[in-house]
Symmetry: C2
Subunit: 459 residues, 2 copies
């Protein structure tokens, strides 16, 4: 061996041994986190309570407030250093007790459809609306048909989510504009109401609701969604009888804003208490299901990180903070309030992790950060290989932490297997029994491991 090599080794070897010992220590801690997650169903049981005892919890409603109280108590039971509510003013939309759509066709007869009102929609008034239906597939068609053809009619948006896309989030993304902006766009041409095909690749009888937005400059009109099966049926009947009418009757309404809250729990950092790693999901959910996959699962996984830290007695160097965000579904007021409070307190967020893609098996993390941080996170991939996490890619994070981007914080989205998610999403089908205990727990462990590495090595 040459002198130079010997000399070089003398310097490098201790560093190599140190690095390898550190990696070994990291492996051990992460393995412990997985074991704690997989052998203690605490999070799963909490999700069960949230879903089956409280249920759907759209912001502004009594159910949402019940959920706030429950999650606060749950966090307190974990005995972190601090648990508090962060006030948030939220919209208050109530679905009412009537949402009906019925086809009336001289040729084909009458047929009631599986429908529900879209979030923030106005009602139809007691008498409902009866009008002819025009099927369209995008906003351009509205312009082509024009005001004369549309005025007084019900616009039926029926562009299907593309099943050939490999990731259902892409299928959804390619269809959801109809739900979000269909009423606003159709109203510009004088439509009396809209009925929108559910934004899902699933062929089912569940209407999949979601928020829709009015424009300040256009008169609001009622907006419903219809199950994919019934959208197909309505389309088929329209072909046979273009003169058929649709009767729509809904009594949903927008009420004055109310005060609600984000629920926050944290363990103070031993070395850098002023530097925060925040993680979590949203506490509110749509009202027609139980909000199990969206986003009870992700919110609970955030809480589980704290529970796992406490169970293993790990003391973080930075402050680690779980947040159950309020009002992701309507106007993301919880996200705004959180970022605003952080700014006021002058908190530095060294990372944000959001879990809002359902409780299915973990894939990994989508990383919204400049290359140095991105590559640092990617360098941890081998530590997660034993747990079959394989996805560490540049990409979006989540809406609840997105405001932290202005502060320059690296943002991370927890990514799960997407195939089943939109079968449940925003529908009565999003119930606790659809969440697998192990898939939920593996997610909590994956997030815990990532928080641990960020806390240990910084970002």
């Amino acid at each position: 061996m040459s002198k130079q090599i010997t000399l070089a080794l003398a310097f490098i070897l201790p560093v190599m041994i140190q690095v390898s010992q550190a990696q070994n220590q990291d492996s051990i801690v992460i393995r412990k986190m997985y074991t704690e997650a997989l052998t203690n169903p605490a999070g799963y049981k909490s999700l069960e309570y949230l879903c089956t005892k409280i249920g759907g919890r759209i912001c502004g409603t009594a159910k949402a407030e019940e959920a706030v109280r429950y999650v606060k108590k749950l966090l307190e039971s974990m005995k972190p250093d601090t648990v508090y509510l962060q006030p948030v003013m939220v919209k208050h939309w109530e679905r009412g007790n009537k949402e009906i759509a019925q086809i009336i066709s001289k040729k084909k007869g009458k047929k009631e459809l599986h429908v529900c009102s879209l979030g923030t929609s106005i009602g139809t008034g007691d008498a409902g609306i009866t009008a002819a239906v025009i099927e369209v597939h995008n906003f351009d068609e509205l312009r082509t048909i024009g005001k004369k053809g549309i005025e007084g009619k019900i616009i039926f948006f029926n562009r299907a989510a593309d099943e050939s896309r490999i990731n259902t989030f892409d299928s959804y993304g390619g269809a959801v504009d109809q739900r979000a902006r269909g009423a606003m766009q159709a109203a510009r041409f004088g439509a009396s109401a809209v009925i929108v095909r559910s934004a899902t690749t699933s062929h089912d009888n569940f209407p999949h609701t979601g928020v829709q937005h009015y424009a300040d400059t256009v008169k609001p009109i009622p907006a419903m969604c219809v199950s994919t099966n019934d959208a197909d049926l309505l389309s088929a009947w329209l072909k046979e009888d273009p003169s058929l009418k649709l009767f729509m009757n809904m009594n949903c309404s927008n009420l004055p804003e109310v005060q609600s809250a984000n629920v926050v729990g944290e363990i103070r950092g031993s070395e850098h208490p002023e530097e925060v790693i925040v993680f979590g999901g949203h506490l509110d959910s749509w009202d027609i299901g139980e909000g199990a996959h969206d986003d009870g699962a992700g919110m609970i996984q955030g809480l589980e990180v704290l529970r796992i830290y406490k169970a293993l007695g790990i003391k973080p160097k930075h402050t680690i903070r779980a947040v159950a965000f309020m009002d992701e579904e309507i106007a993301q007021r919880g996200a705004a309030a959180y970022a605003e409070a952080a700014k006021k307190k002058g908190e530095k967020h060294i990372a944000g992790i959001e879990a809002d893609r359902g409780g299915a098996s973990p894939w990994g993390f989508s990383i919204d950060a400049p290359d140095p941080q991105l590559n640092k996170i990617k360098s941890w991939k081998p530590l997660f290989s034993p747990y079959n996490l394989w996805f560490f890619e540049k990409g979006g994070s989540g809406v609840d932490i997105s405001n932290l981007k202005k502060q320059g914080s690296p943002l991370i989205g927890y990514v799960t297997d997407p195939q089943r998610y939109f079968d449940y999403h925003h529908s009565a089908n999003d119930t606790f029994d659809k969440v697998n205990v192990r898939e939920l727990e593996l997610g909590a462990a994956a997030m815990s491991g990532l928080v641990y590495l960020i806390d240990t090595y910084g970002l």
Copy 2:
């Protein structure tokens, strides 16, 4: 540019362009396969029929024969070049209509448990067996307790599947010896019967059945399995009342062997008809569920490969063959018959692909082949990246194709997400509604893509 480099480029560039064009062509074909799979629910509908109209189909039973006829017709409807039945003599075990286990405790009262007979078990006789119970966790404990302690008693195997394992196949593998060989081992010490904790990480009320084996040299004794919840209950009651008795009554029985069949469909190779790529899963299933994940899904995915080839009009160079194997669950006679027939016909199998890990989301492939073939398959990984296949590792394939190893054929197991599989496996819970249409279809597409690459480039 130096002359040498110019010269080198003159040689290399055309090859590089050719390779890149070929890869591009492969990408296009694989993308078409995915689109066909994801937009045509033919396979899903066939699985629905198999599961909900025929149902559970343990070999030797009328249901299994009905399934053979159905799958033959289904294959014929795809119009491959050949469809045929391959005769297989199979065992015929019937569950009977009685499988009862009841705790009788003077201290705690009576309690009926969720149980079922294990495959190939003998019955108890009309009067049943009433005996004291000894809980053990492994075969060593039997030796420690000895014949004196065990004689006449019912042995209760209660070692739980380890939930902390990341892959549930490992959890299962660590517990299943109790089911497979528990009766044989306990009989050596004179036990009157065995009751075995279900080999699953799931905490549920479903007994999870499966095959058990007697030894020729030991008198057979009845063998049951009990749900994990009731195994916990029995264990708890035993702690409070070690003198409790268990009443077991089952009228299952072993009948004379009958002739059944593998169902085979193939498209003849245009260049190498004598070289075969075989793929598929097993047609038989346990009787208490619908055999949806185990293994209706995998069997149907094999058939789908042929359907996708026909739908896209792709003509393979080698013979591609889908097999629905009979009798995977009891004695793997279909696997043996297939290998035997292949040997007799002098067929060369250039690859075998087995799908028998449930219909969940695809991970990739487990490859049982020497390094050159292993590395060739691994080199195709980038072609599957758009479809989120990430697992291309050396490992086992599957029992139905395992006999081809003697012929030196590279064997491949189609690998899926394992987290939910053992919730269903061998239980009444393995029903069609647990299979997600997209997850099933993505698997069929993944297998089609792999068959296409093997056919195009050889192995």
